[in-house]
């Protein structure tokens, strides 16, 4: 019992019943334990870069600022969960169409944050998009094409 706990965490619709160390971060559970490496670590777990953003019960959160045991009983969605059998999500497609990435390291976190954002703000202004992106650092693009992609996805509709 000590130092570990049994958890039941649903990731992208699949349930994982595991025994994990209490101190394991959610991002490490996702990447190391179940092997979904689309969720990135950009800032050595400081909570500053947003690359590890996932959805916890639909809301964008930084998975390096949570322990995996805190996600017990919750639904987690990672970037691998955005596309479905019909192909990329409208936001993913818009990033592709608008060249909303260069190296791509920050992209997973931005897609997760902006997917949640567009659900709350289906028709955002450029200022609203830029303010919503504060929690995600991109060091390649200068954000211009990212903002353009989010706008394009909003125009298509997020779902």
């Amino acid at each position: 019992m000590s130092r570990t706990n049994e958890v039941s965490i649903t990731v992208n619709g699949e349930r994982y019943d595991e025994t994990i160390p209490n101190r394991m971060l959610l991002v490490d559970f996702i990447r190391e334990h179940i092997g979904l490496t689309g969720t990135h670590v950009g800032c050595t777990y400081e909570g500053a870069c947003g690359a590890c953003t996932v959805h916890l019960d639909g809301a964008a959160v930084k998975s390096c600022l949570m322990l995996a045991v805190q996600a017990d009983g919750h639904d987690v969605t990672t970037v691998e969960g955005l596309a479905n059998d019909d192909g990329l999500s409208p936001l993913q497609q818009a990033f592709n169409d608008q060249h909303g990435l260069q190296c791509g390291y920050c992209t997973a976190g931005i897609l997760m944050n902006m997917t949640d954002f567009l659900r709350e703000h289906p028709d955002p202004s450029e200022d609203e998009i830029r303010r919503a992106l504060i929690g995600n650092l991109c060091r390649c693009t200068g954000y211009v094409h990212i903002v353009r992609a989010v706008k394009a996805a909003a125009a298509v509709g997020t779902k």
Binding site: S2, R3, N5, P21, N22, R23, L25, T44, Y45, E46, G47, G50, T53, L56, A59, A60, V61, K62, C64, L65, M66, L67, V69, Q70, D72, N113, D116, F117, R130, R131, A132, I134, G135, N136
Partner: protein
Amino acid sequence: MFPAEIEHYFRPQSVGEIHKLLANYPEGDATLIAGGQSLMQAIKSRMLRPVCLIDLQDVADLQGIDNANGLTIGAMTRYAVIAGYDEIPVAYAAIRDAASHVGDRQVRNRGTIGGSVCWNYVASCMPTVVLGTNGCLRISGADGEVREVAADDFFFGPFETACGEDEILLSVSWPTPSGKSGSAYKKWGLATDALPVVGMCVSLSLDGGNICNDARVAIAGLADGGQLVTAGGAALLGFDGNPEAIGPVTAAVIDSVECQSDHWASAVYREQLIRNLGAEVIERAYQRATAAQP
């Protein structure tokens, strides 16, 4: 940045259960975790090495906002919920001003008002707005007794509050506003929604002729942490909305606080921020008060 071993993790369902868990550990061994947006940083950097972590996410009594008699915000209410709650009385609108601009979207989806005021970080918004709006903090003691502590008596220095190691903050509440009251908060940071280099909170009440007869001013971002500026509140008495009367108020604030120079900003720059932000929040709080239903 990886946590030290955590022997035990619990997720109690009630305040009583939290007290029982806390009683099982020597003081300082068990740590309560709310949203964790500051605490996890401290745990990962091993500034804190809790033997036992008690996660408050399932305690329903700590959740939610009630505006039936004044305003009560449960300690575990997340910033995003406060920011999205549009029925906060204008007397306490500063709370929403602050919650809407903490950190970033992801942080606002996790971070809580209770976590922030109990952490009482040196540069933070929520302690300052709770001080500036004269909030009342309800605390459950180890014996199960609930005590009420005024904001003035709750915040000590940075990282220090009146909430003891064996106590639990339940909620922050404010009374039904008397007459025409309004409040506002605004900060300036190095990036959008960043920690306050300076944050200014003003709350004021007006008499029938729209003359200020009660006011509080609190400031964020100074070396001593969030603090009430009594001289600022006193200088606002008699304020009638005339923009020319604002300068002396912010001057009184600057005279009675000590602005530090640090790697974020010089003292002179902070003083200018007090003038600019102060003028903005005084005007906004006054406008909100004049529009309030008495």
